[in-house]
């Protein structure tokens, strides 16, 4: 045991990732800190829009704007909570003391945030359709799912990056939105523009390829940036 030449083999990425995801899921299921708040926020916001706009049926730009702004602000709640348990309970140090590949933490956090967003959208999209959408949801759903997938990807990569950046500061609740909102403006813009024809008053139109490609490229660029700098963010 006291040999100074012993070396450690790095644990397998898949095993570590599975363990971290199980941990994230258990912590959220037992604390209910992120997802219920995100879902409740989105439904409450749709109710407020319903009364504030004094309209029962939105379509086109207005409908997609309301949907995406609400999803974005609801996502902020999840982003702010993403690393909190690790920072407050020492999980960061525990992870950094292990020989596990640092990138696994990025994968686990990104997948956790994606899971939060998926649950949020399972609640928020039907609520939006019920309270505000003028046309039927079903015809719009295939196109909407495509935009949601790309929009979620953008929120996930930027949210994970900003969450890791902000969590070790004393002003994380302020810093998170301050950094992530400007970075998420292009995601919001592309996603809202791409969603607009799908939520048309006269039925679902075709998806505008230009905005989808722009959104996908933005996701890719930030995905690469997040992958490149994440290890550095974990260092002292």
């Amino acid at each position: 045991m006291s040999s100074t030449t012993r070396t450690m083999a790095a644990p397998r990425t898949r095993v570590v990732l599975a363990a971290l995801l199980r941990k994230e899921l258990r912590v959220e299921l037992r604390s209910f800190e992120a997802v219920p708040a995100m879902s409740l926020f989105s439904v409450t916001t749709f109710v407020l829009f319903h009364f504030a706009l004094q309209r029962n049926a939105l379509s086109g730009d207005l409908a997609s704007g309301v949907l995406w702004v609400t999803l974005l602000f609801a996502a902020m709640l999840g982003i702010n909570r993403l690393f909190v348990a690790d920072a407050e309970q020492g999980g960061f140090d525990g992870f950094l003391l292990s020989p596990a590949d640092r990138s696994v933490l990025l994968y686990s956090k990104a997948l956790t945030l994606l899971a939060y967003l998926l649950v949020l959208e399972v609640v928020a999209v039907p609520a939006f359709a019920l309270l505000l959408l003028g046309s039927a949801l079903w015809p719009a759903l295939p196109g909407l799912l495509v935009v949601l997938a790309l929009g979620d990807l953008g929120i996930v990569v930027i949210g994970t990056l900003v969450g890791a950046l902000a969590v070790r500061t004393s002003v994380r609740d302020l810093l998170g939105p301050m950094i992530s909102l400007p970075l998420l403006v292009p995601v919001l813009l592309c996603a809202a523009r791409a969603t607009s024809p799908v939520l048309g008053a006269v039925g679902a139109g075709a998806l505008p390829l230009r905005w989808l490609v722009t959104l996908a490229l933005y996701d890719l660029v930030f995905g690469l940036i997040t992958f490149a700098v994440f290890d550095f963010l974990l260092e002292d």
């Binding site: 045991m1 006291s2 040999s3 100074t4 030449t5 012993r6 070396t7 450690m8 083999a9 790095a10 644990p11 397998r12 095993v15 570590v16 599975a18 363990a19 971290l20 199980r22 941990k23 258990r26 912590v27 037992r30 604390s31 348990a85 309970q89 020492g90 999980g91 140090d93 525990g94 992870f95 950094l96 003391l97 292990s98 020989p99 596990a100 260092e235 002292d236």
Partner: protein, 229 residues
């Protein structure tokens, strides 16, 4: 045969902004030996432990841990170090078994048998399925001992490891983290008399500077009390 140094520090310096947390610390600890670190609050004791644990980067000097230079070769020693500090590094919503399963995976271990062995050693096996938030601080500290030892580390970094433990629990963890464990140890303590009995080498720090560095056997306990004045 020459005894290998488990820890080798030369001119180690660390700052927090403008404030010097550690200044020019030089010492060597042989494998299997125990270094006791004493000093008043703000002396730099915890900073020293975090530097040795690879959680902080030095701003000056050289650090070698288990034969590897830090921070460049930190990857080679992570997983060979056990850190037991003020924070248990455990998730409150998870049970002891669930926490240890996470750490076993992080260290690439199939750690179920080892976890059970450690939980039994600290008499926590019957409460090991309850969320940690329902346990007392002393019980959580016992689980933290299991967490720190799960991967059988060669170097133990202990920051007042018995702080939350009652006498009976202290006795339980003694064979695991005490001298009998045979590991190289660095112990931060505020109990000069207690720590002299289990140390080979004593480092006294005041405001980040070395005030005392001597073998425990040749040290006058009064010199350690002076550190706190």
């Amino acid at each position: 045969m020459a005894v290998l140094a488990a820890l080798e520090l030369r001119g180690l310096t660390r700052r927090y902004g403008e404030r010097l947390a550690l200044a020019d610390v030089t010492l060597s600890v042989a494998a299997g030996q125990t270094l006791a670190v004493l000093g008043p609050n703000g002396a730099g004791k915890t900073t020293l432990l975090r530097l040795l644990a690879t959680l902080l980067r030095p701003h000056g000097g050289e650090v070698s841990v288990l034969g590897h230079a830090l921070p460049d070769e930190g990857w080679a020693v992570r997983g060979r170090i056990g850190l037991l500090g003020h924070e248990p590094l455990l998730y409150r919503e998870l049970s002891a078994r669930e926490n240890l399963a996470v750490y076993a995976a992080l260290h690439g271990l199939d750690g179920e048998a080892r976890a059970e062995e450690l939980l039994a050693a600290v008499a926590m096996e019957r409460r090991a399925d309850e969320p940690l938030r329902t346990l007392s601080r002393g019980m959580v500290q016992r689980v933290a001992v299991c967490r720190a030892l799960l991967h059988d580390p060669e170097l133990l970094l202990l920051d007042e490891p018995r702080a939350n433990l009652d006498p009976a629990a202290s006795e339980l963890v003694e064979p695991l983290i005490g001298r009998a464990s045979g590991r190289t140890r660095v112990i931060v303590s505020h109990d000069p008399a207690g720590v002299l009995a289990e140390a080979d080498l004593v480092l006294g720090l005041v405001r980040g500077r070395v005030q005392v560095l001597a073998g425990a056997a040749e040290l006058d306990p009064a010199a350690l009390v002076e550190l706190y004045r």
